[in-house]
């Protein structure tokens, strides 16, 4: 009988410790955030302020570390042709590729890493012809837009591009694996994202059913409801650029998540750790973006 209080105390201590661990873990790995409808039809999820793990062990450019962020909203899908068309219609915006008169295109049958200037390739006609034209593929991610174009769209929508850390936090949704669904690219042989399937770019075996871009939401979302964070299009982000000086840094932008073009033998950036970078005004047929927004501060009752 004399042991009873001791035993009860021990049980209480264990329970308290377990609760503390669960609460602590939950603070670092929040559950699925709520989705809200934002401007121009963007579905947004709220990422709460806090400290989150990003990066990967031993990754030279993106080592595993804890980062602190303020609360932000991020789109569940990549910005679509339809959404970008409404922006252009409302503002008369002319993209970098339209001004330059060409976009960079890679297509099946070309050599690995080969990209070529195609006259008349821009967001309405990403391959310079009718293939995947924006008008007939409204639910595909917009491509052949530069990071500068993406930033202009985001500002118009009242948002901005996510930082590389914000992108990764939302894309990870609390996991520390290579992909949002685990460490295996195709668990059980099932494609989980739109990437290039083939030994080279001569032929895309299309195990994922798509040759180039896929309509957004064609693959399962991550734990927080974000679609296509891996593959489909490289997503422009703010920050995270490595440059020799500030002048060069201003010309560059970071990209995350890989794209339909990326194969395991080329680029291979379709994961949660690698960070690509490209010219801020360059336009290619595999690059797009999703928007982020900083929540508006609550309006004071006095106002």
């Amino acid at each position: 009988m004399a042991d009873q209080p001791v035993r009860t105390g021990a049980v209480l201590a264990v329970v308290t410790l377990a609760i503390a661990l669960i609460v602590g873990y939950a603070a670092l790995v929040p559950g699925r955030p709520q989705t809200a409808v934002g401007p121009n039809g963007h579905a947004l999820v709220r990422v709460v302020a806090g400290r989150y793990w990003v990066g990967a062990e031993g990754h030279a450019r993106n080592p595993r570390r804890l980062v602190s962020v303020e609360a932000y909203d991020i789109a569940t899908t990549e910005t679509t042709n339809a959404q970008f068309a409404r922006f252009v219609e409302a503002t008369g915006y002319v993209t970098d590729a339209e001004r330059a008169g060409f976009g960079m295109v890679s297509e099946e049958g070309m050599l690995d890493w080969q990209w070529q200037q195609v006259k008349g390739a821009h967001w309405r006609r990403p391959f310079g012809d009718e293939r995947l034209a924006a008008a007939t593929h409204p639910d595909h991610p917009v491509t052949q837009i530069s990071a500068a174009d993406a930033a202009a769209y985001s500002a118009w929508a009242g948002g901005r591009l996510p930082t590389v850390e914000e992108w990764e936090i939302a894309a990870r949704a609390g996991v520390d694996t290579r992909y949002p669904w685990g460490d295996e690219l195709m668990p059980g042989g099932k494609p989980m994202a739109n990437t290039w399937h083939g030994a080279t770019h001569y032929k895309n075996e299309m195990l994922d059913k798509f040759l180039y871009t896929a309509p957004v939401k064609s693959f399962p979302p991550n734990r927080w409801g974000l679609y296509d964070v891996i593959g489909n299009v490289f997503e422009y982000c703010d920050g995270g650029v490595i440059a020799a000086n500030s002048e060069q840094a201003a010309q560059l932008t970071a990209g995350r998540g890989g794209s339909w073009w990326c194969s395991k033998d080329t680029c291979n950036f379709f994961n949660l750790a690698d960070i690509g970078q490209m010219y801020r005004h360059g336009s290619l047929s595999n690059q797009g973006f999703r928007i982020a927004m900083s929540p508006k501060p609550p309006t004071s009752a006095a106002n």
Binding site: G109, T200, C267, Q277, Y279
Partner: protein, 294 residues
């Protein structure tokens, strides 16, 4: 006093030598070299930029270690080859100048405005000045397989090696890597034995072989489907290695990080090469079979 006099005389002789060489230059060739060096026309932006070189010297077997969105096109190489002797004279004057003590290389470069104006004409006005003339000129020497430039290239490398040892930074790594890559590329085109029997040559060939397996398969399938050789656009992306004969993609030509000791060793090969009888040198005969991008 004697030292100062000797320095003065040295500078005078160098200036005289340069003037003599400069007067021997064809103005047309000089204009051509300048135009092509600063305005390479083959634009090859990809969806991601390659990583920077790091802090050690790198040998890139294509002949230039640094990547640039702009490089010389096959058409431009062909124009240079058509005036090989005149172009070589222009390039030698450039090398004499840049290796002279106290010479500021940027003196010879066009203004930023001049470059931006050209890029604007191409619809690429947003591009930074991603290339510099030295890279283009080194590639010209490699493409022309100008063996007579080797002592000048060694002097150029010596100059940058000293700067690099004193205060290494991204610029010294970049410049020294480009110069060393050009030297190695010419010596490889010459099939110079010390290079071919080196460890880094063996390492490079192993990498090249891996690359070629995948590429050969693509090339075979393209030929099967089209019954034709590579298209002109394809050719801009494929190099055929002069030693192994293997096809290698422009961007993924093997590159190897080397130690300072290897830098010194490679420079010693240039001295050895100078002892080679003229009849054993390939020179113009060592140029790659057709003008190709590098």
């Amino acid at each position: 006093m004697r030292v100062r006099l000797a320095r003065f005389l040295g500078a005078f002789i160098l200036a005289f030598f340069n003037c003599a060489l400069a007067s021997a230059q064809s103005p047309e060739a000089e204009k051509l070299v300048r135009k092509i060096a600063y305005m390479p026309e083959f634009y090859q932006q990809m969806c991601s930029l390659p990583p920077s070189l790091g802090s050690s010297v790198v040998i890139h077997f294509s002949g230039a270690a640094t990547f640039s969105e702009f490089t010389l096109s096959a058409r431009q190489f062909a124009r240079l080859r058509a005036q090989r002797n005149e172009v070589i004279k222009v390039l030698h004057v450039w090398l004499e100048n840049v290796t002279a003590e106290g010479f500021e290389e940027t003196q010879q470069e066009p203004s930023r405005e001049e470059v931006v104006e050209e890029l604007n004409e191409r619809g690429l006005g947003y591009m930074p000045r991603a290339f510099y003339g030295a890279r283009s000129k080194l590639l010209m020497l490699v493409d022309l397989n100008d063996v007579s430039a080797l002592p000048l290239l060694k002097a150029y490398a010596d100059k940058w090696y000293k700067i690099h040892k004193r205060a290494p930074d991204s610029q010294t790594v970049q410049r020294l890597s480009d110069i060393m890559s050009a030297i190695v590329a010419i010596l490889r085109q010459e099939r110079f034995e010390p290079v071919l029997s080196s460890q880094f040559e063996k390492d490079a060939e192993a990498k090249m072989s891996d690359e070629a397996n995948a590429l050969n398969e693509t090339l075979r399938r393209k030929r099967d489907a089209n019954h034709e050789e590579l298209t002109e656009q394809d050719r801009a992306w494929v190099l055929r290695d002069p030693v192994t004969g293997l096809p290698v993609l422009l961007r993924w030509y093997p590159k190897l990080t080397i130690s300072d000791e290897t830098v010194v060793e490679i420079l010693s090969w240039v001295d050895q090469y100078q002892k080679l009888p003229a009849k054993k040198r390939l020179d113009a005969k060592g140029m790659m079979p057709w003008p190709i991008n590098r």
